[in-house]
Subunit: 365 residues, 2 copies
């Protein structure tokens, strides 16, 4: 047998900047041109964001693709293909770039489109929601849903830059705004007690959408998220802690047919994780109550909707992207800002289905 | 303005093996299990390959997805989505893998599917055609066509291994077999005079599909291709020389509505490059005639089909994936195995459209 080994060289380390400022949006055309130079730009957004006026200044610097209707109902490959085909129609080449202006679904789809257009062009994220500013715009995860599961198809594709204008949060409806704050609570829970106390102390000011406080929250979130993804960008181990509350959360979100917002489902998932921690002897009822008190400030129901069955949730858990042999691993904490790490330095854990079942039973509405 | 920098750590160098042997196919189930361990496997192939019996042994180790009809007519995102959806239906997770058994289009689509399933699973290539054994299975380029251009959407996704069984070439029809050899001639032209002479001396034995000679050719090809992609995996510079003959070639292939096989179009593209080199004063008629003599052995018409217009070719060139400001750069050589590299160490060059036009005029059928 003839044999040959092909070397794949190392890829140098790199970096990108996150800029945070109320009112940043109007300065972006110049900032982005300074960053990318002259190139074709496709601005991807949705009808909500467009109608809120958030792309008025940006639309001057490129073509615009509007996802309509917005949200998870269009988060499929066919939308990504529509973005790509429009770029082809406009004769955009390898030297083009995509700018995502919107929430998590816009960013996930635009980022995925950027990762596969001509085998990869730069993506700039301009997140306009609490969930995308806190979480999805940072870290390079992109993707779309399959007919069966969330984010089933996608790529890791780091942004060239992230620009956060907290002023854009003013146009969110209260339900969207509040649900997105669940990711902020999750960030505090997994890594920063000072941040958790800040959220407890300032939750009313946050809910009143005070710019200075929102900038502070955005900075806290960016620090937590970036420090974790920098250690483990491809989610081999440590990054899995960002899925805290998400394993049960994703299943509930899917089972609700996306009637529940992502953050609302994750809030229930965080309660589920807290119950599992108690069952495993690494949590306690006092911490659970403290977390619940903060989540309650967001006016999110913390019970699984009555029309969802336990069997549905089990079935969806078995198909989880992170499943190994048909069952996912769970990220857990031992205390606020203290990740549960086992003797093998694993940051996610096998939890017996019966233990998960106890949590699901307690959460049934 | 608040600001934060996110670090993206370096990615370590890695490698993969290419194994070459006549009759290797029947040993692959065991070799692949040793390589990947126990995991769900999706074997992607096409109806030609299946009907030739090449997946008889492999089909025992996983699910099988058959692309039908085979070839470029199905090389679109919808086929990739069908592969992915079938993997979802079979509850495959992040720990699954894809095995591509077939020619370039199978490998391109299966590799692309692997790159985006659950944000990336391993791909093993088992190329069964002259073009895929010589070229497309090595180097990590994957993708599908858009409604407008070839390989418009895709990813760089290196294989976990490549297994070449030259015995599979026995079932190719003569036209497919011969067209694929154009990539071998291209490899020799851009980097190995010994290889070019080997091809000149052994072309009849190759056309008779002698196993030992085909193994030798596969090894030559693997060496040329892997040495170039190892230097420049993402095609920033040196890898562009692999596009030798492909710039005009791709345009002709598209303009023919894929009536021409890839290798047939590239053969005309290589003649085009030779004419451009003469026009630029870096080529000569003797070399052109020597190359033409070898290409003629493959019984490939070296003229642009009469139903294709010059305007069509210009339009397609302007949309080339590698176009910058609407015009592609051309890979050129100064002699056999001597790449044309400019003072700035660039391996691809701006060629004035009028010079490209001279080549196109001379190639018109």
């Amino acid at each position: 047998m003839k044999s040959l080994t092909v070397q794949i060289p190392l890829i140098e380390s790199s970096s990108y900047d996150i800029k945070i400022k109320a009112g940043l949006l109007k300065d972006l055309p110049k900032i982005i041109e300074d960053k990318l130079g002259v190139c074709s730009k496709m601005i991807v957004t949705d009808s909500n964001v467009k109608n809120s006026g958030h792309i008025d200044s940006l639309s001057l610097c490129g073509e615009v693709f509007v996802i309509d209707p917005p949200g998870e109902c269009n988060k499929y490959m066919h939308t990504v293909v529509e973005i790509l085909e429009q770029m082809e129609q406009k004769t955009m080449g390898r030297d083009s770039a995509i700018i995502a202006v919107g929430g998590g679904t816009v960013g996930d789809m635009a980022g995925f489109a950027a990762s596969i257009f001509k085998r990869g062009v730069p993506i700039i994220h301009v997140p306009t929601t609490t969930v995308s500013q806190a979480d999805s715009s940072i870290g390079g995860k992109t993707g779309v849903d399959s007919s069966i599961s969330k984010n089933a198809y996608g790529a890791f594709w780091h942004p060239a830059a992230v620009f956060i204008d907290v002023e854009t949060l003013k146009t969110l409806d209260q339900r969207q705004f509040n649900a997105g704050l669940v990711e902020s609570i999750k960030h505090a829970l997994i890594s920063d007690l000072t941040y958790f106390e800040y959220l407890e102390d300032n939750i009313d000011t946050i809910l009143n959408r005070d710019n200075a406080t929102l900038e502070e929250v955005a900075l806290f979130n960016s620090k937590v998220k970036s420090s974790i993804v920098s250690i483990d960008p491809k989610e081999k181990n440590q990054r899995r802690i960002l899925n805290y509350g998400h394993t049960i959360g994703h299943a509930i979100e899917s089972a609700s047919n996306f009637e529940l917002l992502h953050g609302e489902a994750v809030a229930i998932g965080i309660m589920g994780a807290s119950i599992i921690e108690i069952e495993l002897g690494i949590g306690n009822i006092q911490r659970l109550e403290r977390v619940k008190k903060l989540l309650n400030k967001l006016s999110i129901p913390l019970k699984i909707p009555a029309n969802i069955t336990k069997e549905q949730i089990y079935s969806l858990l078995s198909r989880d992207k992170k499943s190994v042999n048909g069952w996912p691993k769970f990220a857990l904490i031992e205390d606020i800002a203290k990740v549960h790490i086992d003797a093998d330095n694993q940051w996610a854990h096998r939890v017996d289905p019966s233990v998960a079942g106890i949590a699901i039973d307690q959460l049934m509405g």
